[in-house]
Subunit: 352 residues, 4 copies
């Protein structure tokens, strides 16, 4: 199929290649009259942009969206909203050698199989992490809409390189350059990233997202449940290889008496004493926070030499990747996870 | 939205409630001329059916599908294929008390929020695990179609109650009553299930699915990748709370140099030396086996008393569930996981 | 794609072949708590059923739906609603000769091309007019829902065999056996039908549908406008070959000054003085009645010998159709047109 | 729903408002490697552009698409293809008065109902005929793809202001400035257009489209038939109020013996002697040319004063439209009809 997400109400089309004229997105199905604060959006987009500090790539990209349509006097006008980001600061020659030498862990080889050589290889083409920028435009707008309804979507680094931050997620980390709750754990993680970089290697991690203020009763059983939708969207983020809700994989080791969340009454409304369900039962929200975690694999682009196959000669060859790359994309993935969560939840809210 | 899965080519509608006249499914989009071996299908359905042994519920249900249309002389005729299973052996009175006493870990409360009291509570209604029977009809037919193309979908119990079976998955376990690779691990798991049952409790686990023979080059980046699709379908299985592909959550602790799968040439074709990607890169199949695992939560229905809230009086109340329930649904989930995998892969194959 | 209609909120799956075990439908997306009056539904279905009088076929079919799920105590329960009608009184042998002798005007030849001989030819298979019975189950339920909201969907015979009934459509004709406004025109039409039958021939006509009480502001520009949706559904009725809204094809001969509907105020609300737009501008309802007409071709099954080609021998052959067939299906198409209109409008209403 | 067309394989997102920064489209689902001849595309787009002669508006717009992504070295690369056209030469002040004075026959009033005042009124916003430019980008690309497969999509003016051109459509009229087959009929039509303009009025007409070379066996019964799809797309063209296939509304006056197309053998393949079915039976192509006609209403923007209602004061008011407008959009609609036909047929071909 395609690079279009067909939600219950929202439709999101994400387009572009890393080194094409532009990347961009069209968001359709938003009601008219939703205000969009472009400054706040830029701040959100900056959280994803690379080159801001020493644990990420030294490339600097400006993610300044140009809105082509869909806004009128700072509000949505009911028509599809399209925004693009021009691609700049690209060094296409970095990628020339990769046409026949697929990078391990990247989509080079699968793209070759699917698109028979016609794919745009420069910068990873349509598979590039750069495509998460338009995802964040859509998500950033929807985060504002949700926020106005008292729904807060917040993600954090839960683990990197096996170092966990299990502190309770009670305060926002959105303004932190390195969004962990525990700064101490954060420092350890940064050290692990630097260590990997020094060895020409990379590390992965876990991002956790909590969505507070979601009304109960949203979603459906079977194929269109809240988990189904968030999962479908989360796997649009390159490098995500797993997702779990609530107690998730831990539930596999728990007993029913532990994992079941007992009901109680609080301030006159039904709540659960624990939230192992992650706010979702039978695909429908319980009214408790929706909680999920995604596993982010280590950046496939590493400086160390790797074994690949030359697709022209069908001979093994050693590949050396020379471009600038994040030794860990987990920090930059945090706002992207918020973005996909916002898309899913905004769609649920609009569906009603 | 709905209980309809819109694949790229296949459309699957699953309908029914646990105690309605019937549960069933309509599968649309199959090419004409696909043979359906009803006996083989019945054997597959029996793997899911309850009451076959002492670690599952003592209820006995016959999952005998009646085909209403779509087949002609044992082959698909191009028209939608509909099959139903009549519900029998139901004791609706078991559930009468649950109308206002939502069971922890079940969808009773969320159904009440969404359907405002009009939902069919008996037996869990449309949320019941019974709805996995029609999923298995669809999946069972598609497994046959895939098998004829040399694509084998096989799942196994990977863990129950924290007891893992890490044996390599090189032989089929489809004919085992308790589908682990290691019989020793299986015995330990069964003991853990019995122990939980004896204490009025339940246990969860992990099911692993491996799909061999999938051609490379199937799928898409972004929202319609192989992971997105399998995940969307897998969360249709009640009790699934997490999914991971390849190294999955383990990747979060690995370095790029470990997790990247080096390419090599084998029998004249490009393969990877390892398969941490689980056969998927950039949402597209690599040609290596597709590997995923789902986390299955412990059965929420347990004999031990649980705390809930009476929705009429808004007072806390102690709930005792008296029906017959599996202390562990993981063994019965194994063919259901195969079924959803078959749906996803058959759709990919038909999309081409 | 498929026999599933994906509306904005409603999903309708129609399944079955003329001589399969059953025909049926699954309607998904209805809110919980919608009452369904089964007696009123039966009366609606009877309007479509054949064999009620001398201008239609002498076959008698009982269109008695069996509801398998989705209803609880006479109301929708939020789960998919499935109903089937068992096929009876079928004479499959009537159709044996047609396997290799495609009937002109029928789908026999195109089905052969698409399904390569695996299609179910008996009674027209999935292409049979019998499939309009499940369409009417869905439509009949939705007509009741709309009626409760003050929205009345009514169709009438506008023309048969070139004989027109241009009387203003101000009174319901639903209870008439021959649903014209002018009984005089109706008599002439019946005579034309009988004349055609006597000559082993058939006639076509036009059905007009008016939907009153539709709120303004429903629908969208571009691909999902009200016209787009009604048209997509109307062409699901076998034999429909054209559709027009408001002044329709007549607009092609009008001037802008005639065809534009001037605005005025009536009872404090904006209305148009005329309704050439058929209640739709820019794909969105104006609040005036939605008006459309469909062209129904003459029944392709006629008693007169016809020229066809034997697909086995590739030789021309003369075909004689011996079964019992309506010489004019326009009267029976009237409730079917109401049904598809109800599906489109109910979906618009639920979308909001 | 939305301004996104979800075909079986193709996805088309059309965005923009008449006076926004740009209009544009994203076409997704095209195979990689499809060549796009940008010069030929420009020639096609010029057929739609206004201001080329004296029977259309004096506005001159350059429809020069900028391709943002999806092309690589002149061929599709498998990623979504996005192109935009910047809006220039717009006089927004022309439209200021229309905010509270809805123009009869336009979507001003329905947009106000749906978007509650937040819509972009300038130039008709997202409802403008200008949105057919991106439709033509998509269609123009697909026409090239179809042409390379021997499928020719050609439309012509069949009637304007009641003047018909019933000449057989055997030669291409694509290069004619006024695309009728009969130049004589064309001259009469032009005279009728000029007469209407002189009187401050406008006229409508009929566009006929013939698609030759379509293989038989494409499409489906029920909701996704060829008629359903073409109709859904055709009503995306503003001003289209009716569509008919083959003999269409004429079939309503024909007998079965006339309307049925007898089969015969020609050059070893099955064909029909006539083509009243318009190349479609049971929603599936027969292999004969697909033929349809759309009714185009007279341009709603006319110079003559019209009656409307001031939405602020709720008082009747006389409206005078002063902008430059086509007295007849039928000639410019011809390539747009070809474009939507190409979208539908390309999708059928890709679906296979």
């Amino acid at each position: 199929m395609s690079s279009i997400y067909n939600g219950a109400v929202l439709r999101l089309s994400v387009f572009g290649q890393s080194h094409a004229e532009a990347v961009g997105m069209t968001l359709d199905g938003l009601p008219a009259g939703v205000p969009v604060d472009l400054e706040a959006l830029q701040i959100f987009l900056n959280r994803r942009a690379p080159g801001r500090n020493d644990w990420s790539t030294s490339r600097r990209e400006e993610d300044c969206p140009e809105f082509l349509c869909g806004l009128k006097d700072g509000k949505t006008c009911g028509a599809p909203l399209t925004a693009i980001i021009r691609n700049r600061n690209t060094r296409s020659s970095d990628y020339e050698q990769l046409r026949c030498l697929p990078r391990p862990g990247h989509a080079d080889y699968t793209a070759q199989l699917r698109y028979r050589g016609f794919q745009d290889v420069a910068g990873g083409g349509h598979f590039s992490g750069r495509l998460t920028a338009p995802l964040c435009i859509a998500g950033g707008i929807l985060l504002q809409m949700l926020d106005a309804k008292g729904i807060r979507v917040e993600a954090r680094i839960r683990a990197i390189a096996g170092i966990r931050d299990d502190s309770p997620f009670t305060e926002s980390v959105a303004e932190k350059a390195f969004p962990t709750v525990s700064d101490e754990a954060g420092e350890q993680m940064k050290a692990a990233i630097q260590a990997a970089r020094a060895e020409g290697d990379s590390v992965g991690g876990i991002v956790e997202c909590v969505i507070r203020g979601v009304p109960g009763g949203l979603g459906s059983p079977m194929f269109d449940g809240v988990e189904n939708r968030i999962a479908q969207l989360a796997f649009a983020i390159p490098a995500v290889k797993g997702i779990e809700f609530g107690s998730g994989f831990q539930a596999a080791e728990m007993r029913g008496s532990e994992n079941n969340d007992p009901y109680t009454v609080e301030d006159g409304r039904v709540v659960t004493c624990t939230n192992h369900a992650g706010g979702i039962l039978g695909g429908i929200t319980t009214g408790m926070p929706v909680v999920f975690r995604v596993a982010v694999k280590p950046t496939p682009s590493i400086a160390s030499p790797q074994q690949t196959v030359n697709l022209d000669t069908m001979q093994p060859e050693t590949l050396r990747i020379t471009g600038r790359h994040d030794p860990c994309i987990v920090p930059r993935a945090v706002p992207v996870v918020e973005a996909v969560a916002a898309i899913a939840v905004a769609d649920l809210i609009l569906e009603g």
